[in-house]
């Protein structure tokens, strides 16, 4: 049965060597039941600490953690009915796969037969029932990940917590694992909180993404919203690869994504376009797209920007030339130069 997870005013401070570390500095998040929520941010932003606080492995310094509407502060992980998959999978190396999976069930008062049946059910769901007698050191990375998932699954928890479970896999494996993971969660319908630093992963997996930095929540919203409608420059540049171009201009910062910076004649749609004289530096070819690196002139301060031209745009571009690019008005974002926060659109011809 899926439960909603909520944190209110959550703070987690550590007393380091002399200084005070604010790992989580006042975060409010509320998931929906059955939602796949991704906590996204760079290393040290507090996302893993937040996850561990929800799990019960850390106690909040301030604020509350609620699961299914009940405040669970002070309850050990077991009582919270959450299951966690660690980055390193944390399988018990001296136990077989089957024993690994049945381990969590030992805390419940069910018979050994029952336990094995459940383990088999979980293993079957994850396609590892043929591995039950092996030990972790004889498994591949992908297989270990599934064992970790099976171990989490077998307790039928109300919430899944995953801490970067794909980062230890090969790049190629990661894409297919991501797909399977999403399918898996959709079939189960369990609320899932997922931590990652990979924005592409977040965009692919999350129903909603919580972007964090320095212990604070920057923005919470579905993928297209955090991408198209960033609340501040941090979110704007963290999501999207290559990141959003930011050009300081007249006390503001102008933002536009590389895929929206196109040769003027190619920019679609009627309406106002903002012209950009781009002195082309170099061009990269990536999977059919052209990434044009150059310096934007006449827009504000001279800034290095990137334009991403899809294969369909065949305009010839040469390194060294100054080519006239443009961005459609609707694709422009405006940020305050000091705070980095999103502001209302400014008049562009000033």
């Amino acid at each position: 049965m899926a439960l909603a997870v909520e944190v209110r005013g959550l703070k987690k401070h550590y007393r380091g060597h002399g200084d005070h570390i604010r790992a989580v500095d006042g975060v409010d998040i509320s998931t929906r039941e059955g939602e796949y929520l991704v906590l996204l941010g760079p290393s040290g932003c507090g996302k893993t600490t937040l996850l561990r606080t929800i799990a019960g492995l850390e106690e909040a310094t301030e604020g509350e953690v609620l699961i299914g509407g009940n405040v669970v502060n002070g309850l050990p992980p077991r009582a919270r009915q959450v299951a966690m998959v660690f980055q390193s999978y944390a399988l018990y190396p001296h136990k077989t796969v089957e024993d690994n999976i049945t381990f969590p069930l030992k805390a419940e008062k069910i018979s050994k037969e029952e336990r094995r049946k459940k383990a088999r059910w979980a293993a079957d769901l994850l396609g590892i029932d043929h591995l039950l007698d092996r030990k972790p050191r004889h498994l591949s990375g992908g297989e270990r990940q599934r064992v970790a998932l099976a171990r989490a699954l077998v307790r039928e928890p109300s919430v899944f917590l995953l801490d970067e479970p794909l980062s230890n896999l090969d790049a190629k494996l990661r894409a297919s694992a991501r797909d399977e993971l999403k399918q898996f969660q959709q079939n189960l319908g369990t609320t899932t909180v997922y931590v990652t630093h990979d924005q592409a992963e977040a965009m692919g997996l999350g129903d909603r993404i919580a972007v964090m930095s320095e212990g604070k929540l920057r923005q919470l919203g579905p993928p297209h919203e955090v991408y198209d409608d960033p609340q501040d420059t941090f979110v704007a540049t963290f999501l999207g690869s290559p990141p959003m171009n930011l050009v300081p201009r007249n006390g503001h910062v102008l933002g536009f994504r590389p895929e929206n910076l196109l040769p003027e004649e190619v920019v679609p749609g009627g309406g106002t376009k903002l012209g950009v004289d781009l002195e082309v530096g170099r061009i990269e070819f990536l999977s059919g797209d052209r990434h044009v690196y150059g310096t934007a002139r006449g827009l504000g301060e001279e800034t290095r920007v990137i334009a991403r031209l899809p294969a369909t745009v065949t305009t010839p571009i040469e390194a060294g030339e100054v080519h006239r690019f443009a961005v459609h008005e609707k694709d422009l974002c405006f940020f305050d130069a000091e705070s980095g926060m999103r502001t209302a659109p400014q008049p562009v011809w000033a």
Binding site: P77, S88, A90, Y92, A107
Partner: protein
């Protein structure tokens, strides 16, 4: 930092040739050890097969006569029995206490440094000096232990710790345990620390309480390390003569004699070098067994 341009020729300087360096670097250590360990070892074997004494330094071959004498010597059998008994008893106590102590040392609490300081003292004090402290603790008249036991009326008068066979044995075992537990605890601590903390987290998530985590996760994963600690401790116990020498001189009446102490008394004290050497040689098979066991444990550690 001078960057010298490498000569065009193919020959590498001596200071680069690994085939040359490796043995060269090892030479001092190997020479030292061979000269002062291997040779005396074989010399000891030679001694045991001759009639050499302090007075008569010539090595006259006598075959296995020394061993024959030893086998007919009841004190030798007593010493052998004591060596095994003391070691076994000490090890059993040590394993339990050191495991508990190691877990305390890895936990986090105030005064941890202070507690650690005290807890390590038994190991760090030179054995001889520690044994002297204990000599007074076990004194026939002034023993503080007796004093403490007298207060609530548990005993009357004095327990002559070092003067009665069984008590003397217990005293030796106690002192050995006392000094070895810190070392064993440190070794086990190293093992505890080596377990990735995510495994403990996972066990917590899986609902395992303290005792279940201990029995099903911590101890099984640490068995090799515990093994190494135990064996080290065992070696230190049965090769030690200092504690016996200072506490009881092997008494009362050879009741606490061990192989090393007996070898000392016979060899250096009595001047019968040949017999002393023969007695001491019996340590070797025991040590070999322990060493092989340690290596097996270490190998097991690496496969996890």
């Amino acid at each position: 930092m001078g960057i010298t341009s490498l000569p065009a020729s193919e020959r590498r300087a001596l200071s680069d040739r690994e085939g040359f360096l490796a043995p060269l670097f090892l030479l001092p250590a190997v020479v030292y050890v061979v000269a002062l360990v291997a040779i005396p070892f074989f010399l000891a074997i030679a001694f045991s097969l001759t009639d050499v004494t302090a007075g008569d330094p010539s090595l006259d071959w006598v075959g296995f006569k020394n061993f024959d004498d030893i086998f007919h010597d009841p004190i030798f059998w007593r010493a052998l029995r004591n060596t095994l008994l003391f070691t076994a008893a000490t090890m059993v106590l040590t394993v339990v206490l050191a495991k508990a102590l190691a877990m305390i040392l890895v936990a986090d609490f105030r005064f941890k440094r202070l507690i650690r300081f005290f807890v390590l003292l038994p190991w760090i004090t030179p054995v001889a000096l520690a044994a002297i402290s204990w000599l007074w603790m076990f004194d026939s008249v002034y023993s503080p232990i007796d004093w403490v036991l007298r207060q609530p009326g548990l005993i009357d008068g004095n327990t002559h710790w070092l003067a009665r066979d069984n008590l003397a044995a217990i005293s030796v075992i106690a002192v050995q345990t006392w000094r070895i537990v810190p070392l064993a605890a440190v070794i086990i601590m190293a093992g505890l620390v080596a377990i990735p903390h995510e495994i403990n987290d996972a066990a917590a998530m899986d609902g395992a309480g303290f005792w279940r985590r201990l029995w099903e996760i911590t101890i099984p994963l640490n068995l090799p390390v515990i093994g190494v600690a135990t064996l080290f401790g065992a070696i230190l116990t049965f090769t030690d003569m200092t504690v016996v020498y200072i506490l009881t001189r092997g008494g009362p009446d050879n009741a606490t004699q061990t192989l090393p102490s007996y070898a000392f008394f016979k060899g250096i004290g009595g001047g019968d070098l040949a017999q002393g050497a023969a007695i001491a040689l019996f340590l070797f098979p025991l040590l070999l067994a322990a060493a092989i066991a340690i290596l097996r444990s270490v190998r097991k550690m690496e496969t996890l």
